[in-house]
């Protein structure tokens, strides 16, 4: 028998018993919707966790700190220097390594003043900064160019009143992108004179409103090579503040980085690389290690949620099997007639499988529509109250929609398999009997 003929017969049989079909489909609808909604909550939870960790910093990034003690014995082996960078770059799966050279600076614009950290990073690293305006610093420019964090301006306070945004609730009249501002560097230990004021061109502003935090929100960023040149120009032979000195209190003739960002090619390799770095004797930190733990937790929650959904799908499967069994008992004679007329056993089985699968299919589609509705309601009226975060807590990705419908069809057919085989084995003699 042709598939289309089988389908027509099956669908006509379902139409014949409308109420029963609708009730069975309703069961599958609820089953599908509960699985999809539950899984979507799990996915939402998981993705929100990842998003949360991503906002703390890139998930493929490892922060490496040198392990020289604070103020105790200076151990030159623990210094992170350009040589260390080369070693780190040689670790498999490391995409690029960026040392961070940071120094504390004071800023002043009009009556407003503030202090922040000026960080020199590699040009690869600078590329990761999303800008609201402007461009990234040109590493070949004559003077050092800056990228300004989107939250820096808010921290300025009025030097006359001593009050800032946190006291008055008013944004200080500071515009770091369009108007120039003065920067003063810290005093070197041996030089107590007043530091010179510098003005550097601002090439870009980090994306985001003053209250939208990201990892580049605070601080000024520039190209590391230009910062080195600038620092050498300022401090000359004197010790640069923040750089360690040797036992005699003299500065080293090379830069020592207190922080290095190691960027890994894929999330899956982060922990592996992190372990390799730790083995080399450095302190390594990544968001990934926390995310890993958090993910185990969300995986478990997702499994529990999916399990709850699966229970109602299981009940729906039983109801399909029951409906099909009933239908076969009612149609014993008809099945016999089909057999006497030469309908092959396979066709009879398939007819019932298609009927059951069709119930699953319709239930799956309607259930999916229902899921989108429930998901919308949860996201708009419940989500924020439930977990307090921003973003959708129930997320139905396209693959989930596809799998849900296919799953519903498979469940329907599995539930219909036993009745279908039963139908196939019914005796054709039933057709001959006359009641």
């Amino acid at each position: 028998m042709r598939f289309f003929d089988l389908l027509t017969m099956s669908v006509n049989n379902l139409k014949r018993r409308k109420l029963r079909t609708v009730l069975t489909v309703l069961g599958v609808t609820i089953g599908t919707a509960s699985i999809v909604v539950m899984v979507s909550l799990g996915i939402g939870l998981k993705e929100m966790t990842i998003e949360q960790y991503t906002s703390y910093g890139s998930l493929t990034r490892i922060e490496v700190n040198s392990n020289y003690g604070w103020g105790t014995d200076v151990d030159e082996d623990g210094f992170i220097t350009d040589d260390t960078i080369k070693v780190l770059e040689a670790i498999p799966h490391v995409a690029h390594v960026s040392p961070v050279l940071s120094t504390y600076v004071n800023m002043r614009q009009g009556v407003y003043t503030s202090g922040t950290r000026l960080q020199g990073v590699s040009s690869e690293m600078l590329k990761e900064i999303e800008l609201a305006q402007g461009t990234l610093p040109d590493p070949n420019a004559n003077t050092m160019q800056l990228v300004v964090g989107n939250m820096v301006a808010r921290d300025f306070y009025n030097s006359k009143t001593g009050k800032g945004y946190w006291d008055t609730g008013e944004m200080p009249d500071v515009d770091l992108y369009n108007r120039s501002f003065f920067i003063t560097f810290q005093n070197s230990g041996s030089n107590n004179g007043k530091q010179k004021k510098y003005v550097f061109p601002v090439s870009g502003l980090v994306k985001g409103n003053p209250d939208e935090y990201n990892e580049y929100s605070y601080g000024l960023f520039t190209d590391i090579e230009q910062l080195k040149t600038q620092l050498k120009r300022i401090y000359r032979k004197n010790a640069i503040p923040g750089q360690p000195t040797n036992k005699k209190g003299k500065p080293y003739n090379y830069f020592i980085y207190d922080l290095v960002y190691v960027n890994v090619d894929e999330m899956d390799h982060v922990l592996e690389v992190q372990n390799a770095i730790t083995d080399m004797g450095f302190y390594a930190y990544s968001s990934m290690q926390w995310l890993e733990q958090a993910q185990e937790q969300t995986d478990m929650i997702q499994a529990v949620l999916g399990g709850i959904g699966a229970v109602s799908m299981f009940v729906a499967a039983i109801s399909i099997a029951n409906t099909m069994m009933m239908s076969i008992y009612e149609r014993t004679k008809e099945i016999g007639v089909l057999k006497v007329l030469g309908c092959s056993l396979g066709s009879i089985r398939n007819m019932f499988l298609i009927e059951a699968g069709f119930i699953g299919f319709i239930g799956g589609i309607v259930g999916l529509i229902l899921s989108y509705g429930v998901s919308y309601l949860v996201n708009n009226f419940l989500g924020a109250a439930l977990i307090g975060g921003s973003g959708d807590i129930s997320r139905i990705p396209p693959w989930l929609s596809g799998i849900a419908v296919i799953f519903a069809i498979i469940i329907g057919m599995l539930a219909g398999l036993f009745p279908a085989i039963r139908a196939m084995k019914l005796s054709p003699l039933a057709a001959i009997r006359n009641e």
Partner: protein, 262 residues
Amino acid sequence: METAAAREVVIRVKDLYKIYRMGDTKVHALDGVDFEIYRGEFCAITGPSGSGKSTLLNMLAGLEHPTKGEIVITGKHIEKLNEKQLVAFRRAHVGFIFQSYNLLATMNAIENVALPLSFKGIPKAVRLKQAKKYLTLVGLGTHMKHMPNQMSGGQQQRVGIARALASEPQIIFADEPTGNLDSKTTMEVLRLMQQIVKEQNQTLIMVTHDNNLATYADRIFKIIDGKIVHIEENHREVDLVALEHAYQTGLPSEKIDESRDV
């Protein structure tokens, strides 16, 4: 009889037994049956209820397995086929007319007639054309779209006949085809069957408990207690008119039967 030998044998039954177990006792539903049926023949199997005539028909149609013996239909040993092969055999060679019509309630007349063709995988357009032809042949050209519950018993049985004919089988089995019909419709249906089968040179085997109906057949097999007790060559041309008259005037059928049974 001299022509019989030259005729093609369609069904050959040899030493056929069907034994049911009812507790400790064995019931011989068929107790050693031998016969041959030729192409183009209209055979009636008669006998009282419980005589084994339905069992015989079921076995000829491959619905039941014999306990012992051979059934050879168009050269194939039916008793050796499994259920899957039997279904395929029926699909290819057999048409079936039921007592209670057994039309599918979800389908209209033309779809019911076309149903056996769909089992063969014939495309819809072709099978509807074929179904239309046979529905017209049984005189229901105007009732193609009627659902079974919109038709009288006689009309439903005509659809049943058209359905049995539509796949152009070599053999048609009819199990008490007029059992649920009134006498006038019975006559019409029987004559229709007789006429069509004759025209198409098909073999028709009809089971009935009514001896009068059997007189429409070319040969009549009488079965009592699982044995064929009598095979009668019918010369119905002579007294068909009288029979019909008798049916219509309500004469007791036994009288006609006795007069012919010598």
